[in-house]
Every structure is written in C-alpha cells, then in structure tokens.
Chain length 344, copies 2
C-alpha cells in the first residue's frame, strides 16, 4: 500500500510501504477513509533527525474494519470506526478511570514501532479498547467533525475539563491552532460565560469568534497579560487552556490565571521545567493536563456532533489525497492552512 | 511590650517594641497567649539580609481580644481567638470561595509592614474576617492542637485537599517537618488507605507512624522514587503532599505520582520553574497548591480537635517563653526540635 513516510525534518514522501497485517490477536486492520495532519506532526517536521528512524506518519483516522485478530470481540468487519491517536486496552485500571492515554498496554501511532494512519490502511493494536464504531456512512457530510474525535476535539475538551471550565466561568484559550479552536468549542459547550482567544491569525480568529470567543488578544508576553487582566476586572481568568506548549505560552498561562484558577495544558511542553513556579504557588493556581484520553470523551462528544450542536470539522480548511500530504505539511508549517484533511 | 525581632539571618533578639494599637477601624489588638515558630520562619533565619528590614516575627497565635476598631462586629473584647497566618476581609470574592490567602485586602504577618505574633500582643488587620473565636479557656489542655489551626494543620490539610486525597487513596508525604506531619494527619482523616512518609529524622518518623503513616521512605532522589514505586505496584501514589519546596523534592513529587495523580504543594518553592514538565505532562499529573487558606478550614478541623480525634499539637516538642525564642530558632534550624511553642 501507499503511505506518507517522514525521513527527517521537512522530508515527507509518499511511498510503497508494507501492508498492515494482524500481528497480535487483539489487532485490527482498518482501511483508512479519512486521515489528517496534526499540529503535533509539525514538531518532527521541524526537528526529526535522519537517525531517529523513518516512520509512516499520522495518528488520526476514520476507516472501515477490514480484518480482526482472534481475540477481538467488540469490533466487526465492515464497521466504520474512528481511531483515537493513542491505542489502549480498555480494561486496565487507567482505562477504567477514563485515562486511556496512560493505559499500561497502550501506545501511540506514527512512530518507527507503530506505523501511522496517513496511509491506505493502518494496524490498530488493542482494537477492542481503541476504535469506536460510528453510526454513519463513510461519506457522510459529518466526516470532518467526526474525524476530530480522534484527536483535536477531544484534546481541546481535555484542556477545558482539566482547567475546570463550567457554567459562568471566564476562559482564555492560548493558541489558535486546531486544538485551540476546539478548546473554544469545548469551553462554550461546557457553559463558559467569557471566552478570550489568544492568537494572531485572522482566519483562525474569525473561526474562534464563530465558535464562541467574544474577545481576541493578539499581543504576546507582558502586553498579553495586561490585556487579559483588563478584560477580567484585573484578576485574570478562571480557566486557561494552554494549547501551544512553548515556554512563553506557559508563562503567559500562569500569569493570566486568576488566584485559585486552573491551567489545562495540552500543548506538548517544549521545556524541561514549567515556568512561573512562584507565581502559580502564591496564586494557588493548579496546572494539569497531558495527552488527552480522547477515547473516553467520544461518548460525550459524539451526540453533539451527530446532532449538529458543535462543528469542530470546520478547523479543516484544505483536503488532499495521499499525494498531497507533503504539500499539506508545508502549508500547515507555513501557517497557510489550519488543518489538512487527507482522503487516501 | 516585648517582641522577637529578626535583624538578619541568625540574628533574633528579644526587645522592647511599640505596643500595637488600632490603626484602622477594622483592626483588633490581641494579647498573645500562645505563639510559635514556623518552618517557614527558618527561610529568613537562613537568608535575611540586614537591609531587608528588621521585623517582629511570627504568624501563628492564640490570644485574647483586648481592643477592637469601630467597624469590628464579629469579635468581642475578652474572647479567646486563633489568628491564621494571613489576614483577610472575609467578604471579597476570594474569601467567599474559601480562598482567604488570596483576599484582595489581605496580607501576611511578620514582616516590616505588619508586625508578627512572637510578642506580647499583635495588631490584627481585618479582624472580622481573620480571627476565629475558640470555645475553651486560655489554658485549656488542647492549646497546642488549637494553635496548629493558625497554620500547620490547615496547611497540611490544604496539601491533602489539593492532592485530592480521599477514601482508599495512596498518599506520599514529602517532608517530615510539622507541616508534613500534619499532612499525614490530614491524609488519614480524609480516608487514605496507604500513607508513606518520606523523611529521615527518627523522632519525626515515629510521630508520623503514630499519625497513620504505615510506611517510611528515607532515601532521596532516584532511590526514593524506586522505593515508593515498589510500595505501590510500580505505578506510584494517587496523591503527593509536597511539604518542602526544594527543587529536588518537587522533582521527586512528580516522579512518584501515578499517572492521573495529583501533587499538592505547600512548601514555598525555592525555584523559579517547576521541575519535571515532561514527566508531569505525559503522566497527566496535576500540580496545585500554595499558601493555605487555613481560615477556611477551621470550621471543618476544629471539631476534630475539640473531640480528640486528631492531635496535631503533638508536633510541638519544646515550649519556651519570649526570652527563649532565639534559642528556639536555633534548635529548629539545627533540627533539634520539630516545632517550638511560645508562651509570651
């Protein structure tokens, strides 16, 4: 089959790669009908070294089950399913708590050990605990929104949950990428009263406004902090959704949280230590988050997508076939595209 | 009157200082019947510089109300009261949320602006929102335990609350000082199933065992992490109470938290950035805490002290009069004493 292989920073090629097969009795193989490129794919796209190992990229997909291992029970051949970015057995103590990204038999797609989904097909380990059947046809108009259940919508929701967003709360979302935009949707959905989007790309800001962000802060650093405080009676926001992961964005997150507030971080930290230890301590600010257990959130988010109450699929502003994937990486990396959908 | 004045590191003198008076209509003056020396007093005792300004030390007290300002309503002359380490108006939005240490009209005792309670008397700003009447006589046998409501018992409880200690949880308490020991009491009180004390002073460990810590880890760094994991099926504990504040102790806290676990930190951080950003992120570990709103916790903790269910006063292992305060600092700093009670 064909797949998108990343060899090193900036070098993504569409090539023939081995067909996925059942390797463990708990595996499934799905034919990929939709995949996409993630903001987190841009980290290796900027920094992967040649000796890190080539890999078939991609960790978000919808597809049709083609084959299942002997121990697979919950999944049927022919079903249309969404594949979360992490696989999980669904039975360990962490999965039972709804923390599938900490599954003791779990792992991630799109690395040298577990090939990813920017391909014609993908092997899914721990199929019973991982993939989730969708009650629609494979070309349903809701495909883009349903595809976000594999990562960005669940990740934005995780940031909001960890930041304790609820009715009447004030919320700042740092980052106007697809996750930040889904964070706006999640905050609105959970009842936030005031949502501030922090970013500076006009197209993304426009989408954030549509999703419910009434206020925009395009400044950075100290100026951004002053702007947010000016919008919140000088105290800062109840909840910060940190959807970037850079040192400066986390520092800003801590500064704009009100005393007793919370930061939900879902941007993979590019730092060794979390800035603002004194500030967060003296303000009693809580910092949490990490890889989102998006599998756990599908039950809650799916009905809102099916019934049209949320439209996270609007974060996709470009669609390519497999041959278009390298150009898709370039466009996202150059901020020409928010998020690229792939139809293999 | 006489008070304990710190001039610089290691230099505490008992001197005549101005009698406290009503300066604002919301003030009260209390005659101090019990005070004490805090682990956090040891930070300036190690590092205060001469030009930081001399100050009457002490932020924990029980005393009798001697005088009140014209606007004081909730407090009566002659009442015995406990004084939390922070003053707070009791009415602002943060106080209403039970976060009195973030009060917008609040502040702390024992600095050049607000003289402390290691003295014969102390001025209490925002008296109505700060001091709390005690239903006992001033020489009641429960005095030591009641005095811990001013700081260490409430602070240990705060660490436990932030770390989400509850029934059946596994808990590690880092630090065997008075706050750590009160953290053990708090964890036990909130229903923890397994409590591990991390420290290396025999007398303190013995007390921790009495308070409910069944396991002791005296190692540090990587060895400590391995020991805790060995005691918890390899996963770490649900809740970590970080009662030290050093870089290494926070790093250990993050390492020993299980995936999805929480760290409640109440040791004043001696670092600018919180170590372990990658580890805490990939484990979805939450870090929170700060200056404890001990005023908020008195309602909950007082009955347990009055009815003998908890005995935090056992952390006091030495009693001095005012003249004995400088020697008390030395003894605590040299780890000869856990916590020194002062009878002015």
């Amino acid at each position: 089959m064909r797949g998108a292989v990343m060899y090193q920073a900036g070098d993504v090629r569409i090539e023939d790669v081995p067909d996925p097969t059942i390797q463990e009795p708990t595996d499934a193989v799905i034919r990929v009908t939709r995949a996409c490129i993630c903001g987190s794919d841009l980290w290796p796209y900027k920094s992967l070294e040649a000796n890190d190992g080539a890999r078939v990229m991609g960790h978000e997909a919808i597809g049709v089950v083609e084959e299942v291992g002997a121990d697979v029970r919950a999944v049927t051949i022919g079903e249309l399913v969404v594949m979360p970015f992490a696989f999980s057995d669904g039975t360990c103590m962490f999965c039972q708590e709804g923390l599938q990204t900490e599954c003791i038999h779990g792992g991630f797609f799109g690395n040298p050990e577990v090939p990813g989904a920017q391909a014609e097909a993908v092997r899914v380990p721990q199929a019973d605990g991982t993939i989730y059947a969708l009650p629609v046809d494979e070309d349903d108009a809701l495909m883009p929104s349903l595809l976000t259940l594999s990562d960005v919508m669940g990740t934005g929701h995780h940031a909001a949950v960890v930041a304790r967003v609820g009715r009447g709360k004030s919320v700042a979302v740092i980052g106007d990428g697809a996750v930040g935009l889904c964070g706006v949707i999640a905050a609105k959905r959970l009842g936030a009263e005031q949502i501030i989007i922090m970013g500076r790309h006009e197209d993304r800001i426009a989408l954030a406004r549509d999703f419910g962000a009434a206020e925009v802060v395009s400044e950075r650093g100290e100026e951004a902090v002053e702007r947010v405080k000016g919008l919140t009676d000088g105290q800062g926001v109840d909840a910060v959704l940190e959807c970037v992961g850079l040192d400066q964005s986390m520092e800003t997150a801590v500064e704009i949280a009100r005393p007793g507030g919370a930061v939900g971080r879902v941007g993979v930290p590019q730092h060794e230590a979390t800035p603002g230890a004194q500030t967060s301590f003296f303000k009693n600010v809580t910092i949490g988050g990490g890889p989102a257990p998006v599998r756990a959130y599908i039950d809650e988010l799916l009905p809102d997508i099916l019934e049209g109450r949320i439209e996270p699929g609007r974060v996709f502003d470009r669609t390519v076939d497999l041959d278009g994937v390298p150009e898709g990486y370039r466009a996202m990396n150059d901020r020409e595209s928010i998020k690229v959908l792939v139809k293999p």
